[in-house]
Structures are given as structure tokens and as C-alpha cells.
Point group: C2
Chain length 335, copies 2
Amino acid sequence: MSTETILITGSAGFLGSLVSISSASDDAGHPIRLLLTDVAEPNAPPNSQAKTLKVDLTDPGQIRQLFETAFGVPDTIYCMHGIMSRGAEDNFDLGLKINVDSVVSLLQAAREYGTRASKVIKFVFTSSLAVYGGPLPKIVTPSTIAIPQSAYGMEKLTCELYINEFTRRGFVDGRICRLPTIVVRPGPPAAATSSFLSAIIREPLSGQRATCPIGNSRDSPELNLAVWLASPATTIQNLVLIRTIPAHKFLPHTRVVCLPGFTVTIRDMLDALERIAGSQTLEMIDFKDDETNRRIVLSWPATFDSEYAMGLGLKLDLDGMDRVILDFMAMTKKQ
Amino acid sequence: MSTETILITGSAGFLGSLVSISSASDDAGHPIRLLLTDVAEPNAPPNSQAKTLKVDLTDPGQIRQLFETAFGVPDTIYCMHGIMSRGAEDNFDLGLKINVDSVVSLLQAAREYGTRASKVIKFVFTSSLAVYGGPLPKIVTPSTIAIPQSAYGMEKLTCELYINEFTRRGFVDGRICRLPTIVVRPGPPAAATSSFLSAIIREPLSGQRATCPIGNSRDSPELNLAVWLASPATTIQNLVLIRTIPAHKFLPHTRVVCLPGFTVTIRDMLDALERIAGSQTLEMIDFKDDETNRRIVLSWPATFDSEYAMGLGLKLDLDGMDRVILDFMAMTKKQ
């Protein structure tokens, strides 16, 4: 019987709910105790040993509740709450409050309750490639400088600094995952600049029109713009795996890990969709070049050296865009 | 008649008081209005147009007083207060409060009062080479990643992220100076790992014994350890200059500037002292290798590419250690 307790913030969100489901039991099938929290009360995965709590993490007093349940002090925290990129850009002060201040409060609580319970809590944090900006090398490595050009990127990087320092001092055992763009996200479009990357696959497959803001036609040279992607399944697998990696395997001076991904151009994505779903599906896409959107996407790094992440045992989408689309179709059919 | 107002925090400190003196008038000799603040009431430079205020910057309410004096909303803020490196390492929570939280509060106040007065306040910040850590290239450039390995370094880098983002959004006009180690500092030893670099020059020159924590004798190979230094005079000159650089001259994606310095080994420093003050002066130094101190100093970058900083018009100590020692002797004689 596992006595492990995992706290997941933002667990009503897309990735948060998938991590909740995947963390509901250990390798041997024993249930893991889940503390699931969000601004709205999240759902517990079926057959799970879960407590769900509606908590406002911008209030340090409410954060303390998470450490005082009958499940005791959690062994691992998945810190996955936050406002998305476009939301943080548009609501600057709210972004700082939710994407930085509440994470620092959570870290301080993890330090305090961890010390009291004589354990070093694992602190898994979802960061983003939005931390990068300015001139970048062709391939991003663990020694590439991150100079954010957005509120979201700056907020994620600030949290990374706190988590690294709290880890260095032994207050928590941090694991920072910089995520690729996740494709295909189900559901309605999210408040993220990257949300069209899911929409141009998801909408046509369900017979709905979608707008591609890169290029003005299927032949447009702008479609050669490359992006760095990972599937939801592989990302969740990696987020679950990273909790189990022994601390000494990480680099000694940082807990930042860029999760593995793969590079495709927008044209590659459309070609894959055509191969799988036929050319009539492609006709559901309107092309309307949005220079601002293109500029932002172009500022993101499109290729990373994943050697370090793979050396830690993290996984890669092996079959590129075709497999991502097929998996998405299988998942939506199942629901 | 200048109507410029400059606010200087930490102005009772060593660099803060020197910047206050150098900022008391403009190039034409007209007085500049100074708002000088520190935890203890600072001194005003002689013949200056200055208001001195004792303010606790950890209290956002007290910060507002600085923007509501008869001098009006300041045009430039020199944010120079803080706990030194060793102090921040030993008093972690106080370090976060003073070295991060109070800077963010000051930035928010600068944004608010600047907006109200329809001006973008220049925000000059003194950062440090302590932001660097982990494996480093032989020569640090503007694209070298900073991975702090100390509370102080992490705190400085966090403030840099805020200042860059506040600048990107047009809330303030940030200028971030990463300082080399400043040698020779006058006065009693400071709570910094680097303080011995001043003490091994300053103490022997005044006939007092000093301890060099690198190497066990004058012939020790450990003395070949290299450090990155700048004189107080050149540093102050650069801190004054950086306020006058037009905003468009900075890199578009970051306001971080590593101030120019020069590389010397500990042995070079002692050789210079011997040349200038004679071998009997060297006998005032006891060697007692402190492995921890040596490890920390060794983790700092010792050589930077100053091309960008020099291109901005910033100044370099041209005559190395000998000139630094002679200038220090001249300064102490004058007092």
C-alpha cells in the first residue's frame, strides 16, 4: 500500500488533470493519495484516493490548508497552476500575482511544512520555452541564455530562480520542466499565442473551420516556420517520470530540464493532416497571415538539444506529427 | 539651472555615497537635486541640493514618501541598497525581503508615480558577477548564461528579470550594471566573500596585518587564481555615465550591462603592492588558505568580453593594479 501523497495545483487544467489521472497509482498499481486543487473545485480521477480542494493560491493562508489535510504533508508537489501566456501579457499585475507570488508562497509553505515533517518535498514545476527570447543559436542547449520577451516568460524564469535556490539550500527538491508547445490540445482554443497549432489540427478533424495565422495560402513560404512540439501523452509521461529520477542524476548547479520535443514546420503539420485525413480536411483551414502572431512564434526556439533530458530517462515522441494526429483521433473517438 | 531629481537608495553605503557625491551636479556644474535614503539617515554631499531621508524600503508605505517630497517625482532612481553577499547567504529570508521584495516595491512605485507624472523614470540597478555560477566559458560575453549559486546572485538576477520586463513594457527605463569586484574599498572589512581582495592591499598600507585566504605562502600556486576587478573611481564614473546613455543604444532585448573590469591574479595584486610599497609591506600579510573561500572565488568568472560595455561609452581602468593602488593611496592621504 503506497503512503505517498501528491499535491497538484492547477489540477482542473488540461495538463493538470492528465497528470492527476497518471499519478493516481504507482507502478505496482497501488493508489497514491492525491490532493487536487484549483480555483474551481477539480474532479477526482475515477477510483482514485483523492481529496479535491478549491483554493485561492494568491492567499498564503489558504495555501496552508493544503498541508494540513488528513493526508499529511505531501511528498511531491506538482506546481501547475497559472495564467496562460496571452493572459499574463494582458493582465500584467494579475500575472505577477498568480505566476510568481503564489508560486513563491507555495515554495515557502513547502519549505516550512517539509522541515516540520523532516522531509524534503519534491517540487515539480512546469515552465515554458517562453523563457527564451532575443538572438538564439540554431539549437538550444542547457547552456543557452534565457532572456524572456514576455511577462509569461519572465514570470516562469523568476520561479525557476527561486526553485533552484530553494533546492540548492535543501529546502525542497526541485524539478523544473520547460515544456515544448503541446499539440494537439483538446477543447476550446486557449489564451495562448500557440493555440492555433492545436486548432489547425483539431478543428478540421471535427469538421469545423480553423484559421492559420501563418501565411496566406497553402503554398505560402511563411509555412516553413518551424516550431518545437510534444504530444500531451509524452509530456504527461515525462512529468510523471521526472518525479522518480534520483536527485543526484540532475546537473549539480541547476534543476532546469527542457523536456524532449520534435521540430516541425507548419507545412509539415498540414502535410501530415492531409496524409491522414485527406485533402478535403485541409479545405477547412483559412489562411490569414497575422504578422504579430508570426513574429512571436518566430521568436521561439524551434530546435533543442535533448541529450541531457534523454540521459535522465525522459521520453521523446518518436514518430513525429503523424503519430501525434493519429493518437489525438484515437483519444477523441474514445471519449 | 538643472531641475533633474535623482533618488539614491543605499546612499549611506560605500558606492551609494560616492554616486551621491558624483551626482550632485551636472556637466555644466549646475546642482542636481538629490533624494538620499538609507536605513540610517545618510549624509548629504557638501554644497549639494539634497534631501536626506531615513526610510525602511521593506515597507511599501515608506517607499511612497520618496515620491512625495517637494522635489517631486524623481527622474532617475539609483537602486543601490541591499544586504551584501555573505549576509544574504546567512540570513536567507531577510535577504529575499531586502534584495528582492523591496526592489520590486520600488519598481512598482516608480511605475505608478512615473505614469502619474507622465515620465518614464530611469532605474539604475547595481547587480553583480555573483549571478554567474556553474560551468563557465573562459570569457564571459553578453550571451553567457547566468546560473546563480548563492542567495545573493539569485536575488540580483531576479531583480534583473523584473527590471528588464518593466523596461520592455515601458514602465521604467532600466539600466542594469553587473559590477566587477571593487578594489580597493576603504574602511573596515565588509560582509562579502570578496572583502579580502581589498583588505590585502588596504591593511598593509596602513601598517596593519591582513589575512590572505588564498594560498599558504607567497609562493603558493593557489595565488595564480584570477579575479575580475574595477576601481571605485572607474565604477562610479560608469554608474554616472550609464544614466546619460540614450535608451536606443542598449541591446533591444536586455538592459543588462557587465561593467568593464580587468583580470589579475592574487599574485599580480601582491606583486603590484610590493613594487609600490616595498617588500616590508608584504610582510604584513598572513597566508592561511581557506578552501571554502577559495572555492567560492574560483566559481566567479575572471574574464569578461567588455566590447558591448565599451561600445556604450563606459570606461575601463587602463593601468591595472598599480594605478588602482596609487589612487587608493592618494585618496587616503587626502582624507
